[in-house]
């Protein structure tokens, strides 16, 4: 799920950036530093949408670096248990398959793949129905439901299922090419 929230971060800026465009430099550095990172608490920071405030800088002894407390608005993506996501399959093996929904990695184990889909090893390992009409392989797009999340300080990992109504493959690159 996406959220638009306000976060705060202490930014350290090198003295060479002090000048007219100090603020721009600060924002650019902030974007570079936080966009794409993940915190267990808030999820993945997708994009910074605005700066709320830049506090008073504090000069650090010895280095001349200055620390600014910056409050910024950003869009975060935080997966939740029970959430339905669309994801791209990145790897298929005998134990199941891995998929990505943006920055989130999701593992679907083989017992959460419908029983009528069998694992086929080979050049392109895949799960296929007995009549061959549905196939899950690398780059397939699937709709899945998250049934568990592992949230670490800097990482979120999910496990999902496609063994439910309206879940499973939503497009098959093999069929079009």
């Amino acid at each position: 799920m996406f959220f638009h929230i306000v976060l705060e971060r202490n930014m350290q800026l090198h003295p060479r950036h002090f000048g007219r465009d100090l603020r721009d430099k600060l924002v650019a550095k902030l974007m570079k530093d936080v966009e794409g990172t993940c915190s267990g608490r808030h999820g993945f920071i997708v994009a910074i949408t605005g700066i709320e405030s830049v506090g008073k800088g504090l000069i650090r002894d010895g280095t001349g670096f200055v620390t600014f407390p910056v409050k910024y608005q950003c869009v975060v993506f935080r997966p939740f248990k029970g959430e339905i996501l669309e994801a791209v399959v990145t790897m298929v093996n005998k134990m199941g398959f891995f998929a990505e929904a943006g920055p989130v990695q999701i593992f679907v184990s083989n017992h959460l793949i419908p029983d009528d889909m069998e694992f086929q090893s080979g050049d392109i390992p895949n799960y296929t129905t007995s009549d061959g009409s549905v196939k899950i392989q690398k780059d397939s797009e699937v709709r899945l439901k998250i049934i568990g999340t592992r949230v670490d300080a800097t990482e979120i990992f999910c496990i999902g299922t496609i063994k439910d109504d309206f879940l499973g493959v939503i497009s098959d690159p093999g069929a079009t090419s």
């Binding site: 005998k94 593992f107 049934i147 568990g148």
Partner: protein, 476 residues
């Protein structure tokens, strides 16, 4: 309010099904046999089905429980969404309102609690079953239980576990990212690099060495057993839920709303004169007791005096007094008000009754100009406006009857109608001031009633019908 019985049964069944073995003791207390209070939750819920809003101290006293223990259990039930609680600081007066409400619902006389007359503020907690929510909570709980078992049965939504056959280290699917190997399509043990096997057994995870199929089957059977057992054992509860489904849910509302309603109901049941609560009894004294004789006297006088102006005023004075007696109007309106407003109304009501008695004592009333009573006056005005409308209608009906020369009309009805008719014509505030003045003069004239009578009888033939009525009334 719908019948409460089916819902109480639901509560009792749910209590026994889900809260039978709940212990509510602090974590740090030792678990000795003596302090084992399992089952107390059921007792408390049962007790609550026999009450509405109840002060928690009273409940504890009734159940011979320690207040702390009761609180702990109630807090638990609050979290479980079975009861709503309310806490408020109150003086003895607030407690009285509650007591009156209790007395009203128990339709007995108020058990006067003279003990708590002190003016200290105490925080009191009240609790009450929330039937609507209980219904939902129980249904949700059953739904979750069933869903969990069914999901397990179909191995849906379960986190796959993996085990290393070499070192018996366990992993879950959440570790998958760390377990994949670039060389084959299996998961590998982090410690010994052995190939992990899926552990398809969750609820019946004990039989490890068994073949996959065997374990799966056994687990399946276990789950099925559990599901059927659940359906069997909870059948009475489920049946009761179905029975309750289309019934209107008993709703007590918030503590304040409930008190207001209970008090109002108690009043209308007990009648005006033997009122339970203080505000009411004062009204009863003011209007039910003293003024009535005066009403009778004045009427006679007016009818014979032939001085219409004066008579009307006196009459309207009387009419204003009985009008104020009606407490149900105040109370019903009051229920929509905030508490302060209601409090004001109450004070006002008392003031009103005072005014009446003052009047009857021929003293000048001062209440009308009081700033604090402006709101009350607004209400009174609104009330009179409504009343006048109705009176006009009644009056017309009465007039018709009069015109048809219905001699059988009761004296009382007749008097009331004239009185109202008169009262209708003059504005309410004018009445008030007029009353006071007239009142002072009234008793002396009352003393000379017979003079007037004779005179008027001679002078006004028209009024003869009235006269007769009045005389009868006086004598009777």
């Amino acid at each position: 309010m719908g019948s409460i019985e089916p819902f109480n049964r639901l509560v009792k069944l749910a209590a026994r099904a889900f809260y039978d073995d709940i212990t509510t003791k602090g974590e740090n207390q030792p678990k000795t046999g003596r302090s084992d209070n399992r089952g107390i939750a059921v007792v408390i819920l049962d007790a609550l089905t026999r009450r509405q809003w109840v002060r928690e101290e009273d409940l504890a006293k009734d159940l011979k429980l320690h207040t702390k223990q009761l609180r702990r259990t109630l807090r638990f039930f609050e979290e479980e969404k079975l009861v709503t609680r309310d806490h408020r600081k109150e003086t003895a007066k607030g407690a009285k309102i509650y007591n009156a409400a209790v007395a009203a619902t128990a339709d007995g006389q108020q058990t006067g609690r003279e003990g708590d007359e002190k003016l200290k503020m105490h925080t009191h907690s009240y609790c009450c079953l929330d039937y609507a929510q209980i219904y939902d909570v129980v249904r949700y709980r059953l739904h979750r239980m069933k869903k969990k078992l069914k999901d397990e049965l179909e191995s849906k939504n379960t986190v796959q576990e993996y085990i290393c056959p070499n070192c018996s280290k366990r992993y879950t699917a959440l570790d998958a990212l760390r377990l994949i190997s670039p060389y084959d399509e299996y998961f590998h043990c982090e410690s010994c690099n052995g190939v992990l096997v899926a552990e398809s057994d969750k609820l019946a995870a004990q039989e490890l060495g068994d073949g996959d199929d065997n374990a799966r089957r056994r687990r399946h059977e276990n789950l099925k057993d559990m599901l059927t057992k659940m359906e069997e054992q909870l059948k009475p509860l489920i049946d009761q839920l179905a029975r309750v489904k289309d019934l209107p849910v008993p709703e007590f509302g918030s503590l304040q709303a409930w008190e207001l309603r209970a008090n109002a109901a108690g009043r209308s049941v007990n009648g005006d004169l033997n009122a339970n609560d203080p505000s009411k009894s004062s009204q009863g004294l003011g209007f039910g007791g003293t003024p009535m004789p005066y009403v009778g006297e004045t009427k006679v006088e007016v009818a014979f005096s032939g001085i219409d102006q004066k008579g009307e005023n006196v009459k309207s004075a009387n009419s204003s007094a009985p009008m104020k007696v009606l407490p149900p109007w105040m109370i019903k309106e009051g229920m929509n008000l905030t508490k302060e407003q209601r409090g004001e109304t109450k004070v006002e009501t008392k003031g009103g009754s005072l005014t009446a008695s003052e009047l009857s004592d021929d003293k000048k009333s001062t209440t009308a100009n009081d700033d604090a009573k402006n709101i009350q006056d607004e209400y009174v005005k609104a009330y009179y406006a409504a009343l006048l409308m109705r009176q006009r209608e009644q009056e017309e009906a009465v007039k018709k009857e009069q015109e048809s020369g219905n001699a059988a009309m009761s004296n009382e009805a007749y008097n009331t109608s004239t009185e109202r008719q008169v009262g209708m014509k003059s504005k309410r505030e004018d009445d008030y001031e007029g009353d006071d003045n007239e009142w002072e003069e009234a008793p002396p004239t009352g003393g000379t009633t017979e003079h007037f009578k004779v005179k008027d009888l001679n002078v006004e033939a028209e009024a003869s019908e009235d006269d007769e009525d009045d005389i009868d009334w006086e004598e009777g």
